[in-house]
Amino acid sequence: MHRILIVDDEPNIVLALELLMKKEGYEVHTVDDGERAVQAAKELRPDLILLDIMMPKMDGYEVCQRIRSDASLKDVSIIMLTAKGREVEKAKGLALGADHYITKPFSTRQVVMKVKEILAARSDP
């Protein structure tokens, strides 16, 4: 069973995503700030992280960079979720190691499809 970590400080979104992912049959963990996200990533070693960018204490970019700088976490897939929709932010997210970038508002279908796709690609080889 794939393990997913959801990182967002918006409880409603966390709730919705959690329900969706559980329905798809994944093991789901949630945290609501950046520092805890890095810690949880190290402890739980999830297959995929749904990572919000705008968060208190440590933003999603920094979380992403920290996770990528940890060699033991190099296989974690990261999907960035953000209200910032500009091209430069997407470029920055991808440059710092995100695998995909989804802007809010997003449809649940969209997220589920992307998660499935990425996880399928991981299991293939």
């Binding site: 970019y61 920290r66 929709g85 091209e87 430069v88 470029a91 710092l96 802007t103 508002p105 449809s107």
Partner: protein
Amino acid sequence: MNISAARRNSFLSLAAGGIFLYAVIFSCACLLILFPAANPALHTQICLAAVLAACGTAAIMLVLFIVLRALVFRPIEILDREAHIIASINPGHVIELSGSHLLGELPKTISDLGEAFMKARRETAEAASVISSDIENSKTHLETILMTLTEGVIVCDERARIMFYNPAARAVFHENASLGLGRSLYLLCPAAPIENALALLRQRRIRHPEGQETENDVSFSCSTLQGKVINCRVHLLPLVQGVSWSFLFTCEDFSREADARGRREHLLRATIKSMRGPLTSLGLGVESLEMLPDLDAVNRAALERTMVQETRSLIGQFEVLAREIQELESPRFVVNDVFSEDLAACVARRLEEKKIRLTMIGSPLWVKADIHSLLFLLEFFAVKLHEHSGADVLELETLLGDRHVYFNYYWEGAEVPQAEIGKWMSCVLEPSAAHTVAEVLEHIGSEVWSKPHQAPGFAVLSFPVPSSASQWEPPRPLLPARPVYTDFIADEDAAETARLKDRALDSLSFVVFDTETTGLAPLGGDEILSLAGVKIVNMGIIVGETFDRLVDPRRGIPQSSIRFHGITDEMVRGMPHIEETLKAFHDFVGDSVLVGHNAAFDMRFLRIKEGRAGVRFKGPVLDTLGLSRYLHDHTPEHSLDAVAKRLGVEVRDRHTALGDSLITAQVFIKFLYLLKTQGITTLGQALEVSRQ
């Protein structure tokens, strides 16, 4: 009194004296014959004495006349001619009186007078040239400033005829061929708003006479006759004697901004309208679910389906809005197109003082941003990288993204953690404006990050900046002045030049000529449209003998060139081709020496056609441009306009072949006089100095 009158008078007085003397002697002789004296001896003696006296007197008279002629009359005659040269052509002329004369100090006095006159004239000329070059300098300076403005500037007289315009104005009116000196502004934009503005401004001016502060501007937006929206301003210029109600018209292309604003407003209105429906039904759906908890499964499912549909529709519309708005986002600060290489060079210089070496790698790109902010950012990041990583050597590369140019700093070492970059964000970048790095990044629409470089041991710091359209659009070519060539010497016939080189300039006849062409490149397919020549004989223009022909160029006339010569396709239709015209011009020139201003330019066009016309212009060609450079080396201004102005030649029909030929001819005649004062009298000498 002129020379022949003086001679006539002296001859007359001499003749009168002689006749009187002979009359006396003759009377004495008659008396003796009519009244024979008693004493024949006495009679003979008297007769003898009378004859002797007459002969002696005649001899004395003759000697006296010869002496006077040699020592007085002849020298006076020469002196008179020399004084004439001093007075009319060359005040510095030294009087040459060979042999002795009885004129005493007179020749020297006249020479002195001439010298004093020349000195006075030179001083006046120097003073005048200093003043005129001062005026010219400040005028040139002012024109240069106007040329660099991005705002279109047009100066018009009271009848809205254009007296000046800058390149930006040309860009605003989209290369409209009607934009030209002396043409009406109303060929470019509608008269009504401008006339209204002028009427208002004149009224204000009349109400508040000179000296009082009044508002001299009216600003408005209007559309050009080509359908562009422009923001313009009409400014009534101060009244100058003889120039009434001239005004300044400044304009900026507002089409893109107006268009963007319009689209933004339309988009907002449309989206708000179309979102109302789904929002209402969504609200109703939620309320229904709340109020009817025991709704049956079928209805509940229907309600949920509606809600899902409406939500998707809302999200979709929001996406469209967000994307469109981002595209239409107009910068809130003054932005410019700037070449990354220029930015890098500026920053590199600033960094040198801080002992950081910055090198630009890769190919530079165009960006569109507030230059001031960008320079500060580039410098700030370089300094921070140096502080953080200790690197003294940085490389800067620009990479092209979809809509952005990525500025990448490379250095040896590890990447900068996002946490560190986060700390930089609150640094104040511009002390005066109190902007933080985050604020500046936000306003140029950028983000910054750092990551390891593909090459191990190196790192990158990136920040994207909006890309400029200049990347894809070639720079708008400024209409260049005629290129100055000096290579036509090779084309002339050496034997012919040798034959003519010792001829005195004032003994030659000249043909001063000019051409109008479709462009500046004779080898690039540009053709002669008009050819004109003016004859000069005995240092004067032969009024009745001019050559002025339009030529069918066998090609279309570029709009951009019509502004300069005013010759249109219709005007040259049915005119002779260049071969025929050149043959006729060759006949017109005959033995005359060709003269032109920047003649090499025109000669290039002529030479190319010589073969097909079956003629050859063998003689040397004198260039008034070269002569001007030689005679007035105090100034760099040698355009025909500048030269004509300097010499006081009235400029009329400028930019027509005949008009320019006439101006050049008048200039050339003045030069001939000036050359003489410099001791340049032969064609060979003139050719030599003009080619220095």
